[in-house]
Structures are given as C-alpha cells and as structure tokens.
C-alpha cells in the first residue's frame, strides 16, 4: 500500500504524461470526460461520473480501420496501425472498470478485435474508489463493489491523500516508475475508507433493486411482455443512453470519401436509431418498441445468457442521469418487478 499527497498529484500526472500517453477525467466547458492529458488539462477527479465512460479510451467513438487511395488509376490499401504506444488510463471508477470487463468479453473473444486488443495490452488502468456515490448509482445490484475497484492500480481518496495499491504486474510496473512520488500507506486506513463507502452505498435509493427473474431464462416471456408497450413510449430514439453507457459495444462501419481516397472507419452505433440493423431489404426492427426492448433485453437477458450470467449493465446510472425522457434501465427492471414477472 502506497500513498501520495494531493498536492503532489499534479507533479505525478505531469511525470506520467511526459513519458507516455495519459487519459484522465478533465473538464472542458463545464463537462468532465476522459481527455488526453497535457499541461493545460483541467484535471477533475472529484466529479463522480464522467459523461462518457472510460470505454472510449479502448473503444473510441470513431476510429479508422483502413484507407484506400487511388494512384495512377490503381487502388492502394493501407491498414490503420494498431496502438503501439503505452498509456495510462487514470481515475476509472468500479463501474467503468467492470464495463471494460464486459467489453473484453465481446472484443477479446474470437474473432478478436485487434484494435481493441492492442489498446488493452498497451494500457495500464488506474482505478479509483468512489468517495461519494450518488442516488443514480446501483452498481452493487450487479455485484460491483465501488469501494474496491479492480484494475492495475487502485486509488482511494482520503483527506489530503490518495492511497495507492498495485493489483497487477502492470500496476507494479507503474508503481515502480512513479515510486519517487509515493510514500508508504497503511492498509487499516484504507479498510476504514472502504467501510465508510460501503455504508453510504447501503443508503442509496436503488440498492433494493432486484434482478430476480433476469437470469438469462424466460427469454420469450420477457420478450412478449405487454410491459414494453407502455415503457417505450417516452423514448425519443436518441442515442444518449447508448453513448454514455460503459458497456454498449455496437458499432457501424462506414466509408468516408476524403477526395483523395476512402477511409473506412467504425463508429459507435445505437440500437435506438432507426437505421440500426438497416439492411438492403429494410430493417428487421421497424418500431421504437422493438428497438427499446432490444436494448434492455440485450443487457439483461441475451448477454447474461451468452456470458455465464454476466450482465451487460454495470449500474453506473449514467442513463438514469442523462435520458432526456427520464426512462432508463432501472425503470424497466422496476416495471417488470411490479408486474411480478
């Protein structure tokens, strides 16, 4: 167990940022998101949730896959290079960390997504325990302990200090590299911090949310339930929930004509959009009800059914905070609870 005083943190970040890429919550025009650190970055480790989750560091909203150019009437294809630079992702909360594990299930199983894999290999994740969880948080429902997030290094915020614990080899390496900034810390204080956090978590309004019945079975019953018919109605079919979600992993592949050639790129897509799954013959989901249902069925039924019971929701509550129509996964779970299904 190590620790670093808060006033030394800036120097530490500068140190890391000088040697490798550092992604950290930073404020731009009033909003906190993961940004690539530079000297002008307005680092913000106090905001509980970044607007977009940490997933974008490994799975960017858009990325070029390859480029085709014509030269003298002939086509030339150049593959986009994989991540080859080491980097540190700093300040990830337990829910986002779990989100990355969900993405790992998708992108690291066969066929492996090489772009994602390269980033995972080059990245060291520094997580951070949640100091003050908020009312929209329900990570505990999914068995996540926000007092003790995983990752390569874990930090705990306490008074003027951050406690620092390496969990993995990568974490040890980072700790070693940063050793000049770190002092020894005691486990006991950290245990106290954890307990304090866990006590707060118990008080959160969503703690009693029950996942009973969402065990990857009763697929058809859920699918055909009349509950959806009312639930979907406020949905505006925007992609906010999808884009702030730490586990949504769907993407579209598109071509961009640069005039000098074509860039094939992929970008996040949302199952809420009417052109999601649009194919030459049309769309197999023709109504918003179907799209809305798909999102939650995927997170709570299909994904656990295919991944040993792992839900693709981590209870971060971003969709609860951000949905323009105040509909969200919690309301879905509660609605089914109420119907007794």
């Amino acid at each position: 167990m190590k620790k670093i005083t808060k006033k030394d943190l800036a120097a530490l970040l500068r140190f890391i940022g000088e040697n490798e890429a550092l992604y950290i919550p930073g404020r731009v025009s009033g909003q906190t998101n993961y940004v690539r650190y530079n000297e002008n970055t307005d680092v913000d480790l106090d905001t509980l949730k970044t607007v977009k989750s940490a997933k974008e560091v490994f799975f960017p909203q858009s990325e070029t896959l390859y480029t085709v150019k014509t030269e003298d009437g002939k086509y030339r294809i150049s593959q986009e290079e994989l991540q080859n630079e080491e980097f540190v992702l700093f300040g990830v909360k337990a829910c986002d960390m779990k989100g990355i594990e969900v993405l790992d299930k998708v992108f690291l199983s066969e066929p492996v997504d090489t772009f994602y894999k390269a980033r995972r290999e080059k990245g060291t994740i520094v997580t951070m325990a949640c100091g003050e969880p908020e009312e929209s948080c329900f990570c505990k429902v999914f068995g996540i302990d926000c007092a003790e997030p995983q990752g390569d290094v874990t930090l705990w915020n306490f008074g003027n200090e951050y406690f620092w614990k390496a969990n993995t080899e990568k974490g040890e390496a980072l700790t070693e590299k940063c050793s000049s900034f770190l002092k020894d810390g005691d486990e006991a204080t950290v245990d106290a911090i954890k307990n304090a956090i866990r006590t707060v978590v118990e008080k959160l309004p969503y703690m009693n949310l029950s996942l009973e019945g969402w065990d990857g079975t009763k697929t058809e019953e859920k699918f055909n339930s009349p509950v959806w018919e009312e639930l979907y109605k406020p949905c505006l079919a925007c992609g906010t929930c999808t884009f702030v979600c730490p586990t949504c992993q769907c993407y579209d592949i598109k071509d961009y004509n640069t005039g000098k050639g074509v860039q094939r790129y992929r970008c996040w897509d949302s199952c809420m959009y009417s052109d999601f799954t649009m194919m030459a013959h049309g769309n197999n989901r023709t109504s918003q009800l179907q799209r809305y249902r798909q999102r939650f069925m995927h997170k709570l039924v299909y994904f656990p059914a295919n991944n040993d019971g792992m839900y693709s929701c981590v209870g971060c509550g971003r969709c609860v905070d951000k949905c323009p129509a105040s509909t969200n996964i919690v309301k879905v779970i509660k609605a089914f609870q109420k119907e007794g299904k």
Binding site: Y256, T258, G259, K260, Q263
Partner: protein
C-alpha cells in the same frame, strides 16, 4: 506576400443557369480573365443552392464559396433569388457567429449581360480569399492530407 502568391485557393462558384452562368460565358467570350482557382457549378437557380452544398465544399477543402444569381427582380423563376438571399444571409451570419471568416462566403448578383462584373467579382473574391489564407476553421481534417 510570398505566401499569398503561392497559395492557390480552391473556390467553388455556384452560378444560376440563366443569368450568372451566362454572365460567366460572356466574361469568357469577352476574354475577361479571372483566376483559374474559380470552378463553376451550374445550378438552375440560386435558390437551388442548399447550405449543405456550401458546407460540403468547405468540408472537402474549399477556401471560399461564392453564389451568383440573377439580380433581385430578374430571377428566371421570378422569386428564387429572393429565397436564396434570405437563406444565405442567415447562413453567412451564422458562419460569422461561429468565427468563420466572413470573406470566405459571398453572394453576388450577376446578369447575363454582366461579363465584366462577373470577372471583376471573381478577381475580387479570389483576392479576398487569398488574403485570408487557407481555410482552417471549416474543413474536415481527413480531407487535408
């Protein structure tokens, strides 16, 4: 100044078929030179010019976009240029509001008889865009390399 002489701006000129395109033809047959940087796209009327076309030109690397139509009152379709005038007024104002240099966009009314005006307008516009230099504020970086 040496910068300016080297910089060859990309200029897209939307010209209505009835007046301005004919005005450009007249400039041509009268041998009234203007810079080769200007490339004309023929549209039936200035009201056919969608703001998306203008933004698209900038996206793909244009340094300036000019729209030419019949003089107000002379539109071949009677009223097209009046609509174009309002649309472009608002669009240009918005671009200005967002910090895009005002000199990169322009609307000019050029009749079929105004070869001289066409040529002068293009000369002036290209000069203005040259002074501003390459368009860096409203373009897609993917098209730059």
């Amino acid at each position: 100044m040496s910068m300016n002489t080297e910089f060859k701006p990309k200029i897209v000129a939307f010209c209505c078929n009835w007046c301005s395109y004919a005005g450009a033809d007249l400039a041509g047959s009268s041998r009234l030179a203007y810079p080769a940087d200007v490339k004309i796209i023929r549209v039936p009327c200035s009201c056919r010019v969608n703001p998306m076309f203008i933004l698209r030109a900038f996206e793909k690397g244009a340094d300036g976009v000019i729209i030419c139509g019949c003089h107000p009152g002379d539109c071949h379709y009677s009223t097209g240029n009046y609509y174009a005038r309002r649309r472009m007024t608002l669009l240009f104002s918005m671009l200005d509001y967002m910090g895009i240099e005002r000199g990169r966009t322009r609307v000019e009314w050029v009749s079929a008889a105004e070869g001289v005006k066409f040529s002068n307008t293009m000369n002036e516009f290209v000069d203005a865009v040259r002074t501003l230099g390459p368009n860096k504020r409203l373009g897609d970086l993917r098209c730059k390399d």
